[in-house]
Amino acid sequence: MKSNLQLDAKGLSCPMPIVKTKKAIDTLASGEILEVQVTDKGALADIPAWVKAGGHAILDKSEDAGVITFFIQKA
């Protein structure tokens, strides 16, 4: 999947993945896609909750060798 911006939040723990995701999405226009990579297991639940609160959409989620990747489309 193609994204407009990639964010590497690997190795960061709560609340930094959310804070970084918020800052990254603020730089995008509506409809653009942010790709976020995290290793914090808490983010598995937190990113979807944050996406829901902001009215954004998760287009894809995958996990590979402990790295979780989300594709988030900005509302």
């Binding site: 190795g11 723990s13 709560c14 609340p15 918020k22 902001g54």
Partner: protein
């Protein structure tokens, strides 16, 4: 639905600081309007020097290793992040007077107020949290 989160920080340890600032930054990053009322020992959390050396609870010192391993941000970093995200810091005037502290003792950009200042903000906040 309320878009405000009101937090009272009344304890001054390292664990207390993480509870307060993690919730505050997460809420602010989720487009909430956040205010923290720092009172009594809670003032330590925004004290220019104090926030760099917040104590662990007695007997919990061994968690220092876990903090390092989990790559948890330092408290001053979270304080800066919270302010950058627009979290409002209100220091309790009465406690400052009792402890002989002035605004110069605290990080830049704080407000000083009394209980009513906080209550006015918190009256339509959900959740209101106390740490």
């Amino acid at each position: 639905m309320s878009n405000k989160v009101a937090i009272i920080a009344s304890n001054g340890g390292l664990f207390d600081a993480y509870k307060v600032f993690n919730i505050a930054t997460a809420a602010a990053a989720t487009e909430k309007e956040v205010a923290i009322f720092f009172t009594f020992e809670g003032l330590n959390l925004i004290h220019k020097q104090g926030m760099h050396a917040l104590p662990m609870p007695a007997g919990a010192e061994h968690y220092a290793e876990g903090f390092a391993k989990a790559n948890v941000p330092a408290i001053p970093q979270l304080v800066e992040m919270a302010q950058e995200l627009g979290v409002k810091f209100i220091a309790c005037q009465m406690t400052m007077d009792v402890m002989g502290l002035t605004t110069d003792d605290f990080v830049e950009g704080i407000e000083v107020g009394g209980a009513v200042t906080f209550l006015e903000f918190a009256k339509d906040a959900a959740p209101s949290l106390t740490f």
